[in-house]
Amino acid sequence: MLSRQKLFWLSRVYDLPGSDARFLRAVRDNCAYHIRHCPEYRLICEAEGFSPGCLNTMDDLEKIPVLPTLFFKRRHVFSMPEWRTPMKVTSSGTSGSFSRVSFDWGCIFAEIPMVLRLGFRHELVSPKPAHYVVLGYKPGKQDKMGVARTMFGLTHFAPPLSRTYALRWRNGAYVPDLDGSVKQLGRLARSPFPVRIVAFPSYLWFGLSRMEELGMSVRLPKASKILLAGGWKQHYAQEVDKNTLYALAKRVLGVGEENIHEFFGAVEHPIFFNTCKRHHFHIPAYSRVIIRDVHTLKPLPMGEVGLVNLITPLVKATPVTSVITDDLGCLTPGEVCGCGLKSPCLTILGRAGLNDITTCAAGAAELLGKGEAF
């Protein structure tokens, strides 16, 4: 019964072979749970001839029905009644529609050791208080956006002295105030305490470019860090080379690349992926990744580029056991990275041009929730 907790309380966070047995058992239990409690998931498994009994080796993980993230945007499917799900989170809805995923108590209980262990492992946890500048959303009661919560969560690894947000909720909408954050950075440079910038990569890029334009350059206190979350999303076209961004951070803020951390995760796969010292995402023990062929969705061997399929037994409230995102990426052997971690690295290379459906024909059939209103 506690197979999930046994996996998430593992102490060796990047030991994939050592966690295989626990992972497989937890996934089997997780699939069985969703099949019992989610009618939609049961129908899909029946149609595809899948049952938890099919999972005998790690190679069998590919047999779990994969659900595209688009599926969770179009349908809101749950395996638990609402009263048992303390937390509901939505994706940021870059294209207008968003996924809704519920989390159960057991999931939250399992996430705590995962986040703490990885936080220590990547030297994010510090007893020394810090000032936070969040180049992202200020979380509030009005929204359930996953990334706002992640960013808020990231402001707890060192005791927070203050938090400044670049996006504030005013009169029913988020209002950006990048200049305010830039000014705050200037002030905090004189503080004896380190500064932690939590940012969307694109916002950091805009913010730093703006500072450079204005001829501003500050030296943030020693041990200051930059934590990047949320991906490039709506500013995908402006994605800049990571090294260019690191060089800019060094020039404008005096923060070296060893103090820049990036995170990856999705509402549909809430696993805490961290970059290693060499800025690679090694797969933690709580997750497995399959890269799938862009034409057939069949699994591809290591090194080939395809759609990213993420598997975890973390969530019981929503059947997100095996989701296929619209990210294109590849896996490389962990040893190639050179940081010492042996778990394979996931590199995200781009995005399938998956647009929201904006169609006149869709409206004709009044497909509620699938087209745009106007």
């Binding site: 149609a47 349908r75 619209d326 399938a352 459906i357 169609t359 024909a361 209103a373 106007f374």
Partner: protein, 420 residues
Amino acid sequence: MIFAGGKLLPGQEVNAVLGCLEKETSQVLSGAPLEAETVLDTLEALGDELDSGALDGLIAQYAPPGAREELDRVRPQISRASLKERLALELGGLGGPRPFGRAEVRPLGVLLHVAPGNMAGLPAFTAVEGLLTGNINLVKLPRGDKGLTLAVFQKLTELEPKLSPYLYAFDIPSKDTASLRRLAALADGIVTWGGDEAVAAMRRLAPPGCKLIEWGHRLSFTYLSDWAGLDLNSLAEHIVHTGGLLCSSCQVIFLDTELLSVAEQFCKQFLPVLEKAAAAYYKPPGQAARAALYVREAALEQVLDRAASGDLNFPGRLCSLTLRRDYELELSHLHGNVLVKRLPRQELIPVLRQQKGRLQTAGLICPESEREALAGLLARAGVNRITAPGHMSEALPLEAHDGEQPLRRYVRVVDMENNF
């Protein structure tokens, strides 16, 4: 963003702009009318810039991928000659001498356009139709507009400053009914593009007496009779290229047969043709990935929504066919996932009448000897366009719009008596 008086303004200015709008429009209407020639000159200048490649950067920046090709295809329709032809065809004969004096064609006055998001250039196009008929145009931009319409308006007013008072664009959400109501209160006519929801919403906002011009969503299909040996490639290309997203896109392939076995045979024969078209179209891996995800999504929808329906699924590479047992015209799974159904010709009229008011294009594949009879039957069923399957979503020169002449709906005829 807002476009007003030839300038781009930040979204926060919306209340200030709306506050002055009534005064400004009254002022414009009391001045000299906008001549069609002025608009034609400006569009010609814009067309020249387009042809010279001067606007390529703008298109690359704001328009979705594939917009350039789309634009090249519709370019002839916005040439001076064809616009003049359109004006003559649609408005010619409306004005002229009358026994009592004369009739004059005048603009409605102020048009509010609620523009669609499914085709990049449409918000600009609907405003141009309003300009050609001399109207002041207030455009409510669709959510997905990345700035293309604003850039086009800016270009047009740069080329001809006289157009500035005739073009406004508002990037306001559909939920902002207060602002929409203020815009609607100023309008003589509301041009709504969109689904039933959008149309119903605008009907609620329109003051009584305001003319409603509605270009609602439509459904299109292909009809095949006696197709053995006929070319199906252009149909496959049409399905893949439009992704089912346009009003003119084929949703259902209807077969003139009663036999399910014949329909099954057709699916087996057509699937490789569709796969070939999909492979040729989705060349970049990102595009292929997207198509594969849609195929997966379509398969899941089939499992969940059509569990006991007896549908036959024909999954293909980057596309799929679903053979359904009923005869109804309905929306397909889109993105290269199309429906196949039987529809013997004697059932055609009663079945299609179920969707009356929503029918648009029928692509027709049949032996030449049958074409006249079948086209007549389709027209009687309420279809407004009958084309070769490869031309279903092509803009045909001087064609009507959903069975009507649009420019006529943007004007009124003023009768003037002489000698009193």
